[in-house]
């Protein structure tokens, strides 16, 4: 845990859009910047990198001022020790893969042990690609090279701008493991922009939610995911809980994995990449959870978790209620209709069963 932060206070108007933020972003682990398209996520990253100058504000990394409109400070992008990974890779087409990596190495800002070419090439499995011209790479390979190139510049802050958005499902699955492990392995604080909460829910420590150029939520990933149900983002209610659990086993024939979450056993679609004993993070959306007052029988739903209703918050305006169910170790959220709450007489303290369909878990691989 580091007490250092990136302070970004910025206001910026482009066309009809206004970005106005004032946040201290912790420089430990991965902060997901999440929000619908057009919410200002990419602009925020571009402001931090120095590609756009705010009309007013101040940007400082661990006390080192990069931008201050009042003091007239505006550090050029190449003097800011950030690594920027673009959605479209932006490899240099006149160089081969090795040339792209060498470009970063020659301009490295600080000699950092662990960031040698050998280590980075090995971490991203690039050895066979080094002599290839950039034009012959697949989309996934391009992003791997782009990530390697960025790491070789030994940045103090890694900015990932929708690095998977241009890729199809299969390619995403090819890159995601690298994005999940590398920021931690190389100990670089990372801001990860995405409009896809499932992409970032599994790897983010913190989450910052943007909408219309303003910060709606900022906190630990688990806390933010729970509060997401308060408002629809991108037109959908994505709120729920992030549960951390240990994989206890797989059933290859039925294509299922079993995960222990604080004493409760969840049945999930097969997590092929995760071995038994490893820790995984599972997001369960509140809208995928139902509640029963008696243990149901003859039901296709695989996850029937006994617990106690902790809270029931009804919103008469929308006819929707949000319930929290305390399980053995963790808690889970359910999104219900007001009608169901009244018919079942749901109230805090009641023993209930939380029902979660196994197929509702978003595939993480």
């Amino acid at each position: 845990m580091s007490a250092e932060t990136l302070h970004i206070q910025a206001s910026l108007s482009v066309g009809g859009f206004t970005l106005a933020v004032d946040e201290h972003i912790g420089l430990d682990g991965v902060t997901a910047v999440f929000g619908p398209s057009g919410s200002g996520k990419s602009t925020l990253l571009r402001v931090i990198a120095g590609f756009e100058a705010p009309s007013a504000g101040r940007i400082a990394l661990a006390g080192e001022v990069w931008f201050d409109s009042r003091a007239g400070v505006n550090l050029a992008p190449h003097r800011r020790p950030v690594g920027f990974m673009f959605q479209d890779a932006r490899l240099f087409a006149h160089l081969d893969v090795a040339g792209n990596l060498a470009f970063a190495e020659r301009r490295v800002r600080r000699a950092l042990p662990g960031f040698e070419r050998q280590a980075v090439v090995a971490a991203l499995d690039l050895h066979d690609l080094l002599a290839r011209p950039v034009a012959e790479l697949s989309g996934g390979e391009r992003q791997r090279v782009a990530l390697a190139r960025t790491l070789l510049s030994a940045p103090r802050l890694l900015l990932l701008d929708e690095p998977l958005a241009a890729l199809d499902r299969a390619r995403k699955a090819e890159i995601l493991p690298y994005l999940e492990t590398l920021p931690r392995r190389f100990r670089i604080p990372t801001l990860y922009v995405s409009h896809d909460i499932d992409e970032v829910a599994g790897l983010a420590d913190h989450m910052l939610v943007l909408a219309d150029g303003r910060v709606q939520q900022h906190g630990s990933a688990a806390a933010v995911v729970e509060r997401l149900d308060l408002q629809p983002l991108a037109g959908r209610y994505e709120g729920g809980v992030l549960l951390e659990g240990r994989v206890v086993g797989h059933d290859e024939r039925l294509q299922l994995s079993f995960v222990d979450v604080g004493g409760d056993r969840l049945t999930l679609p097969l997590l092929a990449r995760v071995a038994a004993g490893e820790t995984v993070r599972v997001r369960i959306r509140a809208r995928d959870v139902s509640i029963a007052t008696r243990r149901p029988e003859g039901l296709s739903i695989r996850n029937i978790l006994p617990g106690t209703l902790a809270t029931v918050d009804s919103d008469p305006r929308t006819g929707v209620a949000s319930a929290a169910v305390q399980l053995q170790g963790a808690h889970i959220r359910a999104r219900l209709t007001l009608a169901a709450v009244e018919e079942l007489g749901l109230a805090a303290g009641m023993p209930v069963y939380a029902l979660v369909k196994s197929v509702s878990f978003e595939g993480r691989d």
């Binding site: 990198a49 590609f51 690594g83 920027f84 932006r90 490899l91 240099f92 006149h94 960025t150 510049s153």
Partner: protein, 223 residues
């Protein structure tokens, strides 16, 4: 025997104008490709003027500006001891202006084609804008540079009106091939005019052919 000194002088003039324009036109084109300044349309218009003005208009104003009695002309005389009008240096200066659009426009469109994206990528890896220009933008604009230099060179070769106005017809100093051809025709020495004219035709065609062939073989970089 055709006037070989005119051929040699023409090549020198075209080479000098191309080199100077490469040095001046590249930063101008880079600025034009990247700027959002409200002066951009004005600069673009001035740059394109030599394309539409009759060479006599350009030559007339150059003659006025470069005359030893004008401020610029007299400054040049005091610096070099030579006049700008009716001299090789004056011809080079005139050619630079006259051929400016042929250097700047292909370069600006090449730089615009490369766009901001690779520059930002280079900057994020620690390259200054200047570094990014030389290490990324210029190599990605090879075709633009080639086209610009060849067009500038070829266009300067074919210059006539401005040269006549500014330089006159001094053998070894300002008498370029186009002027020599004109004089041969005026004096009814058609055989000599033929040699020079055909030489210029074949040379220009060959150069252009090489450029287009090279552009076809040398693939555009698609990032």
């Amino acid at each position: 025997m055709p006037d070989l000194s005119a051929v040699w002088l023409t090549l020198q003039l075209a080479a000098a104008a191309t080199v100077i324009l490469l040095l001046l036109g590249t930063p101008l084109a880079w600025w034009m490709a990247g700027t959002a300044s409200r002066w951009k349309p004005a600069v673009e218009a001035v740059t394109a003027l030599p394309l539409v003005l009759p060479p006599t208009v350009l030559g007339f104003y150059l003659l006025v500006i470069m005359s030893p009695t004008a401020p610029l002309g007299s400054l040049w005389v005091s610096l070099t001891g030579d006049t700008l009008t009716f001299s090789f240096s004056g011809l080079v200066a005139a050619s630079v202006l006259y051929s400016l659009p042929f250097m700047v426009q292909p370069l600006a469109s090449a730089f615009e084609g490369v766009g901001r994206a690779p520059v930002e990528a280079a900057q994020s890896l620690g390259a200054s804008r200047l570094d990014a220009f030389f290490s990324v933008v210029a190599p990605l604009s090879t075709r633009g540079f080639l086209t610009a230099c060849v067009l500038t060179f070829a266009h300067t070769l074919g210059e006539f009106g401005v040269v006549l106005m500014v330089g006159g017809n001094i053998p070894g100093e300002t008498r370029v091939v186009s002027i020599a051809i004109y004089e041969h025709v005026e004096t009814l020495r058609y055989a000599e005019a033929h040699v020079l004219a055909a030489g210029l035709l074949v040379f220009s065609f060959t150069v252009l052919l090489l450029v287009y062939a090279f552009n076809r073989r040398y693939p555009l970089h698609v990032g």
